[in-house]
């Protein structure tokens, strides 16, 4: 067995008391393709941030444990240190300059100066940066890197206008062109590719591995992991779960390991509840252009009075659904509310139909942080339904403040008064203000997205209880989108899993972890997984 190229030993990391990585061990050998899989928040990004010495790690007190390369502990303090150690990364967002040629992109900030008399004179007077560049040599280097990936495209082509798949290869070419490149991290590289492009990429990965480069392959696609990797490591909630030789495991096992049994918020009632047959909302072929959360043809039905959960991995498009229906991002398709067709891309009309929305982006979209609680709470109702107004369209300050006071009591918003700016509130209380604003509209249908994101555990329970109460006592229909499967399982009647912009399937809250795991990876043709099925 060859020596490990890289080794994480008992690595832990916490952000202000919140532990996101616990005693994780991880190793990779030269020429190995090692897949890394886990839900959102499982700790993949934190591991990579540590590997690349990102400022976010070191400005928050570093990490515990050690990182070793080729048996020696290394101290990676910046991405440039990582580069010096031969570690490269291809990000999900391309770092390419469209107006540059492929070669220029590959050689960015590693350009090769010409060595001639004039350059020596210029550089001795004005500094090294006044040397002219040897574009010929740069092009040759780029050619070599592209050839290693079996890319035939000319190195002097502009990146502008290249197909996405080609850009991915240019990114990889840039990394392998760096001298001494030993380890390459690919973060969801196939997410943006077409099927044939993805096929080509996997082939290129294998050939790089044969050339001796180790590859960390982060992906949610179980079939690709099975297909290409040598070993797979599963992370869950910041903890190492398992490392397996790929040939000894199966998609079902990986899925199960990934989800686990981790329902921390107990369900108080049984999973089965008699649901109304009436359809409240029917969504057909919904496409939403929300950056990095695109929906690509969602079909979904929401029944009257139910709490429908929408789950799935980050970037798969689950957040796009509510945002699209509410008109926050461009959408097309057909959405029917209570037998009436909803106009798309028309937020005001949708709000007028007594549909309310609590956004996943509390601070960015959900609140006016420099305004008091009361103006935030009545805002939508005032603008959409014209309530809380006096003559000449002036605001009725008395009514506003009375209503806000009531909401503060009803929702238990902890604040100095209803005049406190929402920017000063804690996350949980901010979320309650958002909910209060939605409730002020007296909605029949409520969309809530990531209701407990960034909220401490006590407040989480309060918010979920509140949603449950609204459903049970007022019969409100709720569509709750969340990355936390556990919380979906704790209050939802049914859970739709979104994968690659489409509904992969609908599961009952007590479905098995493997069913959830497989569905999140887009594998739906397994026998054990049926719509709404219970294992």
């Amino acid at each position: 067995m060859s020596q490990n190229l890289l080794e994480f030993k008992n690595v832990s990391k916490s952000y202000s008391g919140n532990q996101v990585l616990k005693n994780v061990n991880f190793d990779i050998r030269p020429g190995e393709i090692h897949a890394l899989i886990g839900e959102n928040g499982a700790g993949k990004s934190t591991m990579m941030n540590i590997l690349f010495g990102m400022p976010v790690i070191h400005s928050t007190g570093g990490f515990e444990g050690s990182v070793e390369m080729e048996g020696k502990p290394v101290n990676i303090m910046s991405p440039f240190d990582a580069m010096a150690h031969g570690i490269g990364m291809v990000h999900q967002e391309f770092m390419l300059i469209p107006g540059f040629t492929i070669a220029e992109n590959i050689k960015i900030n590693r350009e090769i100066p010409k060595e001639n008399a004039l350059n020596n004179v210029m550089s001795s007077i004005f500094g090294k940066r006044m040397k002219t560049l040897d574009f010929k040599k740069m092009n040759q280097d780029a050619r070599v890197a592209l050839d290693r990936l079996d890319m035939t495209i000319e190195e002097y082509t502009l990146v502008q206008g290249l197909p996405i798949g080609f850009m991915q290869f240019v990114e990889i070419a840039r990394e392998i062109d760096k001298t001494g490149m030993k380890l390459l991290v690919l973060d969801e590289p196939t997410a943006v590719l077409t099927e044939s492009e993805a096929e080509r990429l996997l082939k290129a990965m294998r050939s790089l591995a044969v050339q001796g480069i180790a590859i960390v392959f982060i992906s949610h696609r179980l079939d690709e992991i099975i297909n290409v990797s040598d070993r797979v490591t599963v992370l869950r909630d910041g903890e190492w779960v398992a490392t397996k030789d790929t040939k000894d495991t199966s998609a079902i096992e990986i899925a199960e390991l990934m989800i686990g049994r981790k329902v921390s918020i107990e369900r108080e009632e049984g999973a089965e509840r008699e649901l109304s047959k009436d359809i409240m909302l029917s969504i057909k072929d919904l496409h939403v252009a929300m950056p990095s959360e695109r929906a690509r043809g969602v079909d979904l039905e929401v029944r009257k009075g139910e709490i429908l959960g929408i789950g799935g991995l980050a970037g798969q498009g689950k957040l796009g659904i509510a945002n699209g229906i509410m008109g926050i991002y461009p959408a097309k398709g057909e959405v029917v509310l209570d037998g009436k067709k909803l106009p798309l891309n028309n937020t005001k009309q949708v709000l007028k139909e007594s549909v309310a929305y609590v956004s996943e982006d509390r601070k960015g979209i959900g609140l006016l942080l420099d305004e008091p609680i009361d103006s935030n709470i009545v805002f939508t109702d005032m603008q959409v339904n014209g309530n809380f107004l006096k003559a000449f369209g002036l605001q009725d300050s008395k009514a506003i403040s009375e209503h806000a006071k009531q909401m503060v009591i009803d929702l238990d918003i902890r604040c100095t008064s209803e005049k406190q700016h929402t920017g000063r509130l804690s996350g949980g209380n901010q979320q309650k203000v958002c909910v209060g604003r939605a409730l002020t509209q007296k909605p029949n249908l409520l969309f809530v997205s990531e209701p407990t994101r960034g909220i401490d555990i006590g407040a989480k329970k309060l918010i979920l209880d509140l949603l449950l109460k609204l459903s049970r006592e007022q019969g409100m229909t709720i569509v709750m989108t969340s990355s936390e499967l556990a919380e979906l399982c704790s209050i939802c009647d049914r859970i739709a899993i979104i994968c690659e912009g489409k509904v992969a399937g609908i599961l009952a809250p007590n479905a098995s972890p493997a069913e959830f795991g497989l569905m999140m990876s887009g594998i739906t043709d397994t026998d054990s997984v049926k719509e709404g099925g219970v294992s």
Binding site: M326, G327, I328, T347, K348, Q349, V350, L351, K352, Y357, S359, D361, G364, I365, G366, L367, L368, L369, D370, E371, S375, F379, T380, M382, Q383, V384, G386, L389, F392, G393, L394, Q395, S397
Partner: protein, 358 residues
């Protein structure tokens, strides 16, 4: 002590600097035997002249368009309204009223177009607004030159075109608002026992400005005003609550343009002259600076900022030249100081904007 500290935390440094400067001028003036009442009278008059221009900054800043650097568009619109009203033959109060009505109508039209333009160039509003304002000034200069009028007070005796400086005295509109209910306080006698001037209060002009301020204050407590504020504070929030951000921004810029158009009428009557051609060119900058001096930023402003800022900056600009002139025996440093202060404060505000410095 804490009270002092929190006071300094709340009052922007720029406001304090300008206040300090103005106070210094007044103190120096006092020791150079200037009549304080006369210095203050000048400042109050200038406050009346500039009040509406500075107020025009509030809606555009609140809507997220940024300070209205295209103030000259509104100004030339107001001038056009005055020219038309004069040419028709109105005089006195009638001239004032007719030109104000026309200024509002034309201002709405121009403001609508300008607002549309600002929506088309989101992110680069300030630079483009500035050059659009400059271009508008010279476009209207051509109109002044080509305008045909039989009114000899308005046009040249020979040939075509309007005068550079049109005196309002023949039209009976000279200081018509300033003189409305005007009164004088703190009159005193000098050493020889002669009665000398006190603090002159141009009641009519002040009433107009303060009324506009009140209306603006109320407007931002109404549905549409609140919508404009929200659009400026957080466009995504506004979108999620069903607001039409583009329409709110257009409305805000229409109000701003109308204020500038009416503002030049108030300005001209107080000044006693209507200045055409390139006079409006640089008018935006003192107005922008004033609202910033008052404590506004390029993204948030209130009516109170307008009142404080206009008094402080115009106080400095108005009282500086006579005082410095006597101190330095004729050499006037005020213009240089004004340029540094006025533009320094705008640069400071730009540096404080989101996205800067990083």
């Amino acid at each position: 002590m804490d009270a002092v500290k929190s006071f300094f935390k709340k009052v922007p440094i720029a406001t304090l600097i300008i206040f300090g400067f103005w106070a210094l001028i007044l103190i120096v003036g006092f020791f150079l035997d200037f009549r304080m009442t006369s210095l203050f009278s000048d400042t109050i008059q200038r406050f009346g002249m500039w009040g509406l221009f500075v107020l025009a900054m509030v809606p555009s800043i609140q809507s997220g368009t940024g300070p209205n650097f295209a103030l000259p568009i509104g100004v030339v619109t107001g001038l056009f309204a005055m020219v038309v009203s004069m040419d028709i033959g109105f005089i006195g109060f009638n001239l004032l009223i007719v030109s104000t009505v026309l200024a509002i109508v034309f201002g709405c039209l121009m403001g609508w177009g300008y607002g549309k333009l600002m929506n088309a160039v989101k992110g680069s509003e300030m630079a483009i607004a500035t050059y659009t304002g400059f271009a508008a000034t010279f476009f209207f200069s051509m109109i002044w030159l080509l305008y045909n009028t039989d009114n000899d007070f308005l046009g040249w005796f020979i040939g075509r075109g309007l005068r550079n400086f049109v005196s309002l005295t023949p039209f009976g509109t000279d200081q018509i608002l300033d003189n409305f209910w005007q009164f004088e306080i703190f009159r005193s006698t000098n050493a020889d026992g002669e009665l000398i001037g006190g603090l002159v209060i141009p009641t009519g002009t002040l009433l107009v400005v303060l009324l506009a301020c009140l209306l603006m204050w109320l407007f931002f407590r109404s549905k549409h005003g609140i919508a404009i504020s929200a659009v400026g504070m957080n466009p995504m929030f506004a979108k999620a609550t069903g607001l039409n951000a583009d329409r709110s921004r257009v409305l805000a810029n229409m109000i701003s343009t109308v204020l500038a158009a009416v503002g030049i009428i108030v300005y001209a009557q107080s000044f006693g002259f209507m200045q055409l051609y390139d006079a409006p060119l640089m008018m935006a900058f003192p107005a922008v600076a004033a609202v910033l001096v008052g404590g506004a930023t390029a993204q948030r402003s209130k009516v109170i900022h307008v009142i404080i800022g206009t008094i402080l900056l115009q106080g400095l600009i108005t009282n500086g030249p006579p005082v410095f002139g006597r101190l330095l025996e004729g050499a006037d440093i005020t213009d240089a100081v004004r340029m540094i202060v006025q533009n320094g404060i705008i640069l400071y505000a730009l540096a404080q904007m989101k996205g800067g410095g990083k």
